[in-house]
């Protein structure tokens, strides 16, 4: 059981306490997470590193409320998230959490700009016109200002991933979770994607958590969390 807590007066964006998670059923059941404690601060970029299969993705899905923990609690902006309340989880996801996955998960039928607008549409805080200009601004920031009308299939892997980053920032979430966002990219593209991610997060004071196998990228983060066998070490 390890508690990692850096920094003094910074605002906690997300916190988890004693998270446990089993995966699989019966004989093949694995105790993937064995009591994870973590605090993420606004404006700080943290990296999780660790061997394959140690439970990094699993942790990220729990923090992002995409899955349910077996025990332990998650607090977002100091408020405990009620377990087993799908409606509430969905709402928090929409308002407070942005995701970037190893795979971009863009909807192939929609253009880059429309993909970025999807989370805004659900939240419904902006008028269609505002959504459009915000989508263009976000794509501009990740260097895709001239390709907003392209379909995902007409973009390169790095570009697709940058669209996914723009999408994750659409609702200005307090927490940005990225699972190997550069996993499929070459060195140059990895760097570009990483820079977009961290720069935007820093500017907007978001808490960013990146899972990565790339030590160079990890080094660039404010904080490195090492994980092994479902725990931080």
């Amino acid at each position: 059981m390890s508690e990692i807590d850096v920094g003094g007066q910074k605002e906690v964006a997300l916190e988890c306490r004693e998270l446990h998670k089993h995966l699989g059923e019966g004989e093949t059941q694995v105790h993937v997470l064995r009591g994870v404690n973590l605090k993420l601060y606004r404006g700080e970029v943290s990296a999780i590193v660790g061997p394959s299969g140690c439970g990094k993705s699993t942790l990220l899905y729990l923090l992002g409320l995409l899955d349910l923990q077996d025990s332990g609690s998650i607090l977002i902006q100091g408020e405990e998230v009620p377990p087993n309340n799908d409606g509430e989880h969905t709402r928090i996801r929409g308002e407070n959490i942005g995701f970037v996955f190893q795979f971009h998960f863009l909807l192939p039928e929609f253009s880059a700009a429309e993909n970025v607008m999807l989370p805004m549409r659900k939240l419904g805080r902006l008028s269609p016109k505002e959504m459009k200009s915000r989508a263009h601004a976000l794509l501009n920031e990740v260097g895709l200002g001239d390709k907003t009308h392209r379909l995902p299939s007409q973009l390169s892997g790095g570009e697709q991933q940058r669209v996914a980053i723009a999408r994750s920032l659409a609702n200005t979430p307090g927490v940005l979770l990225a699972d190997e966002p550069t996993g499929n990219l070459d060195v140059k593209n990895s760097l570009m994607v990483f820079e977009s991610l961290t720069r935007l997060a820093k500017e907007k004071g978001q808490a960013v958590l990146i899972v990565t196998h790339n030590p160079d990228l990890a080094e660039k983060c404010d904080r490195i969390l090492r994980m092994q066998d479902g725990q931080f070490i």
Partner: protein
């Protein structure tokens, strides 16, 4: 594919129902045109007037008949004028025609035949039936002007090998007389066309030796669907047993109902099969789109949002399917009505008879809605229930 199934299903549903109800309608028209909406027959035996009834002296015999409700009847109507006067107060009453009925034997130069004679008053009877339109040969006017004229069913005429202008000997009770055929009718109902002979009421009275009373009164009404209620009212007011057409032709009406229901079920299976097709297609789409579903969920789209996306697909198919299906049903129905289909027996027709009502369209659309919604519900729910974490773990591990 499923769309086509729904289009055909709805289309066939509408056209088969239209045919069946067309035939039913024709059948009802035929009934009303021959035996009328309501037939008032035997007097209900009232304890108080029992003595009066049984002591009336006339040549016709009074029988006491007991029906299943244990009511007793006196055969025939002794005072038709009183009865008609009483029932003409009814709001729905249109016209009434007193009729004397009896068994007869007909003798043409070549053959003999048995039949039923109906003694009628021409104008009254035309008002309660379609007799005038059923005349095939000769005319009602000839009949009106000939005291010994008769109107004969066309099948009977064919069997006796006689035609308009011929004279024929009719035997009844214990006498025989000669009559002249002034017209030949066809109702399409072979039983009637084979046996029925109309003559003037006064002629029938003397032939059958029934100087008083009549056998029954045929009544026509404005609203035929009200016949049941009217018949009951007549029984109450006129104290005579009266049978509305629905009751007289109960077994036929039930047959039509059964045919309509079974056709509806048969045709609905087309819709059901396309529903199954939709069900599996939609399931496959859901399985194919799990990533997209997971990512939408991760963005804050709720279970219902996801389910609705898939339900919408069903709704779109449903809307297109029912609109096209209704159009197709209309066209089929229209086309069928021009198909030659000579028929006679319980009614006569040369073409397919159709009768479309908005109700058939409503029924078909309701059936399609129910089936499609059931087919879409499970896949859509399944889509909503996907746990995004599981999906993403499966794809990005």
């Amino acid at each position: 594919m499923s769309l086509a199934g729904i289009v055909f299903g709805v289309g066939f549903f509408i056209s088969t129902q239209a045919q069946l109800s067309g035939y039913q309608e024709l059948f009802i028209e035929t009934i009303l045109g021959t035996d009328g909406a309501i037939r008032i027959e035997d007097r209900i035996q009232d304890a108080n007037v029992f003595v009066a009834a049984s002591t009336t002296k006339n040549t016709s015999t009074n029988f006491f008949i007991t029906d299943k409700n244990n009511r007793r009847f006196v055969e025939g109507i002794e005072h038709p004028d009183n009865v008609i006067e009483a029932i003409s107060e009814l709001e729905n009453f249109e016209a009434a025609s007193p009729v004397i009925k009896g068994s007869i034997q007909l003798q043409s130069p070549l053959r003999k035949d048995n039949g039923q004679v109906y003694g009628i008053m021409v104008d009254e009877h035309i008002a309660v039936s379609a007799l005038e339109d059923q005349i095939q040969l000769g005319s009602i006017e000839d009949f009106r002007g000939a005291p010994t004229g008769i109107i004969m069913g066309h099948k009977m005429a064919a069997r006796l090998d006689v035609t308009v202008g011929d004279s024929i000997i009719i035997r009844a009770v214990d006498q025989q007389r000669r009559y002249r055929i002034t017209a030949i009718f066809e109702t399409g109902v072979s039983d009637i066309d084979k046996t029925r002979v109309f003559m003037h009421l006064s002629a029938a009275r003397s032939l059958l030796k029934k100087p008083h009373g009549v056998s029954f009164i045929q009544v026509s009404i404005y609203d035929r669907d009200h016949a049941m209620v009217d018949a009951e009212a007549i029984e109450r007011v006129a104290k005579h047993f009266s049978a509305p057409w629905q009751e007289r032709e109960k077994s036929w009406m039930q047959l039509f109902k059964t045919l309509q229901i079974s056709a509806a079920i048969t045709v609905s299976t087309i819709i059901i099969i396309s529903g199954l097709g939709m069900f599996s297609t939609l399931f496959m789409i859901v399985m194919d789109k799990t990533r997209e579903i997971a990512i939408l969920r991760s963005m804050g789209y709720t279970r219902n949002d996801i389910s609705n996306i898939f339900l919408w697909q069903g709704v779109i198919v449903l809307i297109c399917g029912t609109i096209l299906g209704c159009g197709m049903g209309y066209l089929i129905t229209f086309a069928i009505s021009y198909l030659p289909m000579p028929l006679s027996g319980i009614f006569a027709t040369e073409y397919f008879v159709v009768n479309s009502t908005a109700w058939h369209y409503v029924q078909a659309v309701i059936a399609a809605i129910i089936i499609v919604m059931i087919a879409c519900f499970a896949p859509s729910r399944k889509a909503g229930k996907l746990v995004p974490g599981d999906v993403i773990r499966g794809t990005a591990a």
